[in-house]
Structure formats: structure tokens, C-alpha cells
Symmetry: C2
Subunit: 97 residues, 2 copies
């Protein structure tokens, strides 16, 4: 299994209640039910006020490297990424478990 | 429950086989068995070669905000943080689930 973690930071001045952000949130929330490769799917807003805290997190798991590639290339995932690219940046880490 | 995610980036020039890094890796690996507040504990090296990939990840879960505070303040966690501070930086996200 491969764990896929993503931490998003909203661009300067972008708020969570921005309609574009709300649309992006809904798009990512739905991926867990839409993409069969996702064996585990959590995504939610950060609640920490520490300065090193990012704004939003994805915590996913897939079977193997091929499944991760299929997930990343999936049109619904790509559509969500296109939304988030308009108002955020992100970093990732994948690990085997 | 609160999920606590941390992505670490090794400082420029620092390698995974640096003895300080190996010590830090062992210190974090042991936390899951040492700190009772940790109801879920994964920590491992990143395997993605994407440019936005960080080097190491922690994926933890605790019962609530008080448990998260106790975990963060735990001497064994603090000792691990002191090691990692010597050769890395990190970002976090915490979310309710």
C-alpha cells in the first residue's frame, strides 16, 4: 500500500469561504466515492493555529504505484487539481506502508 | 479524533544516511509505542520523485485536542523534534475526523 499525503496552503488573501474554494473543497470531498483506486480517503481543513500549519490536507491510500498513477491521472482528480491550482499551492509525501 | 500530519524537508545537502538523520528516524519510529496518546502512528520516507515532494512524513491520530497537546509536550516527542530540528524543516496540518 502507498500512503499519499498532500498539504495545501491558500494563496495570500484567499479565504475558505471564497466560492472557488468552496467548490474545490466539494470536488475533493467527492473523490473518495468516485475513484475506485482510493482505498482510504480523508480530506479536511486544518484546525491548528501554529505558524507552520498549512490550510488543508489530503490523506489517501492506494494499493500500489500503478494505482497511484491511475488516481493522479483520473479526470475527476485532475478537475479538482485544476480548481485548487487557482487559489493554492501544495506539497506532498508518498510512503509505503 | 484529530489527525496530525507532518511533512519534513531535509536541509540542503543532508542525506538520509547521515547518522544524525538515522538517529532521528529511529527516534520517531519508536514514538508510536512510547506515547499512549497516539492511537495511530505511521512515519516513513517519501518515495515520490515529484518536485513538490517532501522527504519524510508523519501521519498520526489522537483522541482530541488535549491528547494532541500531551503528545506534542511529551519528552520523547520533544527529544525527536530536537534531533530533526538540526537537519530539517517541516509543515503540518491537523484536522478533525
Amino acid at each position: 500500500m502507498i500512503r499519499h499525503l498532500v498539504l495545501f496552503k491558500l494563496n495570500q488573501g484567499v479565504k475558505r469561504d471564497d466560492p472557488r474554494v468552496a467548490e474545490g473543497y466539494r470536488a475533493f470531498k467527492e473523490l473518495g466515492d468516485r475513484i475506485p483506486e482510493l482505498k482510504f480517503w480523508e480530506c479536511e481543513w486544518n484546525i491548528s493555529e501554529r505558524p507552520i500549519a498549512y490550510d488543508f490536507a489530503i490523506n489517501a491510500a492506494v494499493e500500489d504505484a500503478d494505482a497511484l498513477r491511475r488516481y493522479l491521472a483520473h479526470p475527476d482528480h485532475q478537475a479538482g487539481v485544476a480548481l485548487w491550482r487557482e487559489f493554492s499551492t501544495w506539497v506532498i509525501a508518498d510512503y509505503a506502508f
